[in-house]
């Protein structure tokens, strides 16, 4: 169980990890707090049919948000797994990498919630779509942590994430948009959307746990 001291230490680590990423740590924050709000505002500005235009908004949110949410997590885990001399980190008291990867993801997800909250002021009744998008983001987190732990390859991880995103977008014209596809779910019934969302959350949990198991099963470090 995490004590108050552990949580304080985790938060301090998070701040230092972000500084360690350098200038590009700001990119996901800029994307979520500047780029996406501007795009959303342009889409909804003087809209005569906000509900329909919401489809447009969700389409690009579904591309950008998952990647923005997992970016810091991937870069922090990369340092643990691939950094020069990262064995030192495996010989430290703090052994589990998952909290260090999870916190940045939750921070970005919360940041995204502000954006979605703002959108909901103009286009109400979007909670189902928002929950689905959160599920997709969690699924991306599961994919990233599983691949990084199993393959120890940043290139492979980013490639799979990119290909999955492209595949989901390209399949957007299909009539059936069920898990693991996610790009255009407006054609789904509410029941199917809920089921799909549940699958994304479960998939995220399964992949994350599988990644942790895989990391332990391999040689502990090599």
């Amino acid at each position: 169980m995490y004590t108050k001291t552990d949580i304080a230490a985790l938060l301090r680590r998070y701040g230092l990890h972000l500084r360690a990423l350098g200038k590009h740590a700001a990119i996901p924050f800029l994307a979520v707090n500047l780029l996406l709000p501007v795009l959303t505002a342009l889409c909804l500005y003087k809209s005569t049919n906000p509900a329909e235009d919401m489809r447009e908004v969700l389409s690009y949110l579904r591309i950008f948000l998952p990647v923005c949410c997992i970016w810091h997590s991937i870069m922090i885990m990369k340092e643990y797994l691939l950094g020069t001399g990262s064995e030192v980190l495996f010989v430290c008291k703090t052994r589990s990498r998952l909290p260090d990867a999870l916190l940045p993801f939750l921070v970005m997800l919360s940041n995204s919630a502000l954006l979605f909250g703002g959108i909901s002021l103009f286009v109400p009744n979007q909670s189902a779509n928002w929950l689905h998008l959160v599920g997709v983001c969690c699924f991306y987190f599961g994919i990233a942590t599983f691949l990084l732990n199993a393959s120890r390859s940043l290139t492979l991880t980013l490639m799979v994430v990119l290909l999955y995103t492209i595949a989901a977008v390209l399949c957007g014209d299909l009539n059936v948009q069920f898990f693991p596809l996610y790009y255009d779910t407006m054609s789904l019934s509410e029941a199917d959307l809920r089921l799909c969302t549940a699958f994304f959350f479960l998939g995220a949990l399964a992949l994350t746990l599988l990644g942790e198991w895989r990391a332990k099963r391999n040689e502990k470090y090599a």
């Binding site: 230490a9 301090r12 680590r13 064995e87 030192v88 010989v91 470090y221 090599a222």
Partner: protein, 279 residues
């Protein structure tokens, strides 16, 4: 105290370590051996970076596989070290101190003390990426001391360093070794001579020798000779050095018996080679 018992480590069909046992004391140990002898593998087995299925690593009598507090007592510097290049030296140490569980109220004091010990206090606000190779290595030594460990492990700490940095490293080890077990994996004989109380030599995964530096040197007593190439007889010699002067070639060689030359005083390097080559 650290103790390793019958450690065997294989990677697929390759045996990296075979039945290695030793009991360490509060001394500085030099771990030497040829490339691929198993030095890094042994260190990683001690540190639980590799799973040890055959054999045991004991710390104060308890198996480290079941005692997570063991790692709180360890400071480790790997062969390559260069984490957090975008952070300033002080920040990098703060992050590592956090990772090692150093209490927040003690962090600043420990960082200042460690930087002073490795003579990096004046670079505390420089980025890690801006430091020279020797300074990064000193930073690596500083991070090993953050949690005030009783066991220090350095894996080839002076590889690639210039002579001045190597001397600086030797002096640092002399300052920090008190009441600690220090294990130094190295190829550099001068480092062994300068700082090590005892030497362990690995060869093909086995422990070939352990003793003092003097003991290792004495292994070559009566086996080191100097001769002109023209006077040499026999082929079962290991040539340590070849010198040419005025067209005449002189050889310094190791052999079980004289092969036409004059005996020489052995060096530590001669002792190392005699053990490795089983002369």
């Amino acid at each position: 105290m650290l103790s390793i018992q019958n450690i065997t480590k294989t990677f697929g069909k390759r045996t990296a370590l075979s039945q290695v046992s030793f009991a360490f004391d509060k001394k500085v140990y030099g771990l030497v051996g040829a490339n691929g002898a198993g030095k890094t593998t042994l260190l990683r087995c001690i540190l639980q970076l590799y799973r040890v299925k055959d054999g045991e690593v004991l710390w104060n009598g308890k198996s480290v596989a079941r005692d997570r507090s063991f790692l709180n007592q360890v400071g480790y510097l790997p062969q390559q070290f260069g984490l957090y290049k975008e952070l300033r030296v002080r920040e990098a140490l703060a992050l590592l101190a956090n990772e090692k569980g150093v209490p927040k109220q003690d962090t600043d004091e420990r960082i200042a003390a460690c930087l002073a010990l490795v003579h990096l206090s004046d670079r505390a606000d420089s980025k890690v990426g801006e430091l020279s190779g020797g300074m990064v290595r000193r930073l690596g030594i500083a991070q090993t001391l953050l949690n005030e460990p009783q066991l220090l492990i350095f894996d080839e700490p002076t590889a690639g360093l210039d002579p001045e940095e190597r001397v600086r490293f030797q002096n640092i080890i002399t300052n920090i070794k008190k009441d600690r077990t220090v294990i130094l994996s190295t190829h550099i004989v001068a480092d062994i001579q300068a700082v090590c109380d005892e030497v362990l030599m690995l060869g093909e995964g086995k422990l070939l020798f352990h003793g003092t530096v003097r003991d290792m040197t004495e292994q070559a007593r009566g086996k080191v000779f100097l001769a002109k190439q023209a006077d040499m007889t026999g082929s079962d010699v290991f040539i340590v050095k070849t010198e040419e002067k005025d067209g005449e070639v002189t050889l310094r060689y190791l052999a079980p018996e004289n092969r036409g030359g004059s005996p020489c005083e052995p060096t530590t390097e001669d002792g190392y080679l005699c053990i490795q080559k089983q002369i």
